[in-house]
C-alpha cells in the first residue's frame, strides 16, 4: 500500500512536469486558411495574371528575386517575360 502510494506520487509529479513545461519553439497555433494579394509597393497595382509572377505587370517591380522552375503548382512559365 505504502509502496503503491510512492509510485503514484512520483507518477503524479512526472505528469505535472510534462504538462506544465514550456515546449521549445512555444505553443502550436493553428492558423486557418486565408486569401491575400500582393500589391506592388512601387506603383500600387494588384498582382496581375498576365506576364508572370516574378515582376509587376505594370511597372516591372521585382516581386521575386529568383528564377522559378517547375515546382508543384508554380511552373517555369510563371517567370515574368517582359522585363
Amino acid at each position: 500500500m505504502e509502496e503503491n502510494k510512492k509510485t503514484l506520487s512520483l507518477l503524479e509529479r512526472m505528469k505535472q512536469k510534462a504538462v506544465e513545461q514550456k515546449s521549445y519553439g512555444g505553443e502550436y497555433v493553428e492558423q486557418s486558411a486565408n486569401v491575400n494579394t500582393k500589391t506592388c509597393p512601387n506603383c500600387g497595382a494588384g498582382r496581375a495574371q498576365q506576364d508572370g509572377l516574378t515582376h509587376c505587370a505594370y511597372c516591372g517591380f521585382e516581386f521575386l528575386s529568383v528564377k522559378l522552375t517547375d515546382g508543384i503548382h508554380i511552373k517555369e512559365s510563371d517567370n515574368s517575360q517582359n522585363i
Binding site: T7, K17, Q21, K38, L64, V66, L68, T69, G71, I74
Partner: protein, 187 residues
C-alpha cells in the same frame, strides 16, 4: 552541377534551404528570412516540400550530407548570415565554448539525453540553462560530427565521457523529481 538532385528549386539552392531551416530552428521569423532571400511563402513552401522529396529519392546520401554541412554553416550564408536571434552574453560565451571545447559539447549532449529521460524538453532545457538555441546547437553538432568522421580513434573516449556526464545529469534530474521509482530496492 553533375547531380540533378542538387539543382535549385525555384532558385532556392540546397544551401539556401539548409540555412533557412537552421535560422527557423534558431527562432528567426520566417518572414525576415524570406525577405532577405527575395522570395514569398508560396515559393519557399514548394521548394521546402520538394527538397524533402529530393532527399527521399537520393540514393547516394549526397543531398542529405551536403544539407547537414550547409546547416552547420548557416552563418556563412551570403544573404542570411546577419539574421540572428538575440542571445545573452552568457549564452554567447557558452556557444563559443561549445564550438571550441569538445568536452563541453559532449557534456551538453549527455545532459540533453538525460533531460529527455526525465521528461524534460531537452532543447528547451539547454535554451533555459545555457542560453543556446537548438539551431545553434545543431549547427555546432554538425561541425563536431565532421571532426569525429575524420578521427574515429577518439570516438570511444568521447562516447564514454558523454555517458559519464549523462549519468551525472540523470542523477541530478532524479533528485529534482524526488528520486527514481526503484530507489528503495537494495541488493
Amino acid at each position: 552541377m553533375s547531380n540533378p538532385l542538387l539543382e535549385p528549386i525555384h532558385g532556392v539552392s540546397l544551401q539556401d534551404y539548409a540555412a533557412i531551416s537552421a535560422k527557423l530552428v534558431s527562432g528567426v521569423a520566417q518572414a525576415d528570412i524570406l525577405n532577405a532571400l527575395g522570395i514569398e511563402p508560396a515559393v519557399y513552401e514548394e521548394a521546402s516540400a520538394l527538397w524533402v522529396t529530393r532527399m527521399q529519392e537520393d540514393q547516394t546520401w549526397e543531398v542529405t550530407t551536403l544539407y547537414g554541412q550547409y546547416f552547420g554553416n548557416a552563418d556563412q550564408h551570403p544573404k542570411l548570415s546577419g539574421l540572428n536571434v538575440a542571445i545573452s552574453e552568457e549564452g554567447q560565451a557558452n556557444l563559443d565554448k561549445l564550438n571550441t571545447d569538445r568536452y563541453f559539447y559532449e557534456e551538453l549532449c549527455g545532459a540533453r539525453q538525460a533531460a529527455y529521460q526525465y521528461g524534460l524538453d531537452g532543447a528547451q532545457w539547454i535554451q533555459e540553462n545555457f542560453g543556446i538555441n537548438l539551431g545553434d546547437f545543431q549547427a555546432v553538432a554538425m561541425k563536431w560530427m565532421e571532426v569525429q568522421n575524420a578521427d574515429w580513434d577518439s570516438v570511444p573516449h568521447f562516447a564514454s565521457y558523454q555517458q559519464q556526464k549523462q549519468a551525472a545529469y540523470a542523477a541530478k534530474f532524479a533528485a529534482e523529481q524526488g528520486g527514481n521509482v526503484a530507489d528503495d530496492v537494495v541488493f
